[in-house]
Amino acid sequence: MAKESTNNLFDAAYSLFKRIGTSDFEYVYRGYFNHNITKKILILADKNIARVTGETQATLQKRIYYIMVEGLQNITHHQDEIANDRNFDKYPGIFAIQKSGDRYYITTGNIVANDKVGDLKSRLEVINSLDKDELKKYHREILAYGSISDKGGAGLGLIEMSRKSGNKLVYRFEQLDDEFTYFYLQTMLPSDVADEGNAGVVHSHCSMEGVMSLHKQMNKENLQLLFNGFFNQENLLSLLAIIKSRSNMPLTTIKISNVMVEMLQNIIKHGAKGINASVGVPGVFFLGQTGNETILTSGNIIQDDAAEMITKRLEFVNGMAKDELSDYYDDILLDFDSADAKRTGLGFTDLRIKSDRPLKYEFQQLDGGFKFYLLQTAVKTTK
């Protein structure tokens, strides 16, 4: 049993880390979607899929990409249709891409007006009732005779998602209030993976229920970004681009980005690589909002014996006043001789200076001479 943590996000990070396989990942974005963010999310997802699928699965990669585009367009489409910022602040959209074993799960969630639910539901029922050839025919009919209705453009997109995945669409409707219902849509690929045996158990966190429960947790902790996979420079840049695209808080964006770069580069440089060394350092990263603070939480594997050194360095920066930290920063900046390994580096010092409060950290024991190292920083949010 893992030791009790006093930090909900540390607990969440650790259990997310434990639940996925060594070549799996899950990336979730929750918030307002604009064209720019959509583009950056696609880049992040596609690059990671490319890393793990290999050339023989180029078709699969393309299909996943296509479905992600349709899904993201669905979110922005519904978002624009309702066109009221307050609703999105209250009920932000969600996009999740998960890889579990040979399978990929793409889940989107967004609000729809209650009076649109019936129409949407019947459309989905029709699509799911058709086999491959019927779907093709149905698709052609709609192309020839125009949209089934003028109530929205989602018809063709849904058909195409179903066709490309080769599987039925999974969906749920959850009424939120008198006006809105939350609409979840999930696609799984590829269609030719055997469904027997323990598949249901292994992939349970990717099931619709699994994603919905993750979404509820993200709502509760007000998490905007959840990254459970591999840290490498490429992913760091993709995450940076996503954060930069959230244009509503420019000042905070800069601060968050600076802190995130230090946190993640520290992991990339010092984290234990594990089994899939070539793809990066396995780990978890959250971005969340609590009151007027943005909370950044990371978790990654380290060698058992690294914990002591990390603790010493974190305690060192946590124990200093801001002006002492600043002097210390100058000191290391000008120290070109001493071997980097001996002193607390600029990274931790910089994090402590930029973080709103002392750096929180925790270790969880793993098997095989490793620990899971959790770190949390907070950046004051200013509009």
Partner: protein
């Protein structure tokens, strides 16, 4: 002296070191994994330039993101510019967006640590 031009990448800055045009500029983003390797040719170039610099050198930093690994290389550039100032006029401009406190703070830190004329320039 041969100019040194490096185009910006996703994680490294655009670098223009062109004595003939009198343009010296490091701009955009600097968050490479290995800042040491990236800045080595830049430091070497300035070291050589310090031997026989222009009468006047205006060096502009106009950066958007800087990781700590880069910040350690940038101080070395500025210290080399201090050396350049032994043989010619040197002026360093550190541009920062008005909302970017962190970038201003980093510039202020450098300014404090060096003796070469160093201006913090706010841009909208």
């Amino acid at each position: 002296m041969e100019k040194l031009i490096l185009e910006e990448t996703e994680d490294t800055p655009e670098i223009i070191l062109d004595p003939e045009e009198g343009k010296f500029k490091i701009s955009k983003i600097s968050v490479p994994e290995n800042a040491l390797d990236f800045y080595r040719p830049v430091l070497d170039w300035i070291k050589q330039y310090a031997e026989e610099p222009n009468i006047q050198t205006v060096f502009d930093f106009d950066l958007e993101y800087v990781n700590t690994a880069s910040s350690k290389q940038i101080i070395q550039i500025i210290l080399l510019l201090q050396k350049v100032s032994e043989k010619g006029d040197v002026r360093v401009n550190w541009y920062y967006e008005s909302i970017d406190e962190d970038m201003r703070a980093l510039g202020a830190r450098y300014k404090k640590l060096v003796t070469v004329p160093f201006d913090l320039v706010e841009i909208e």
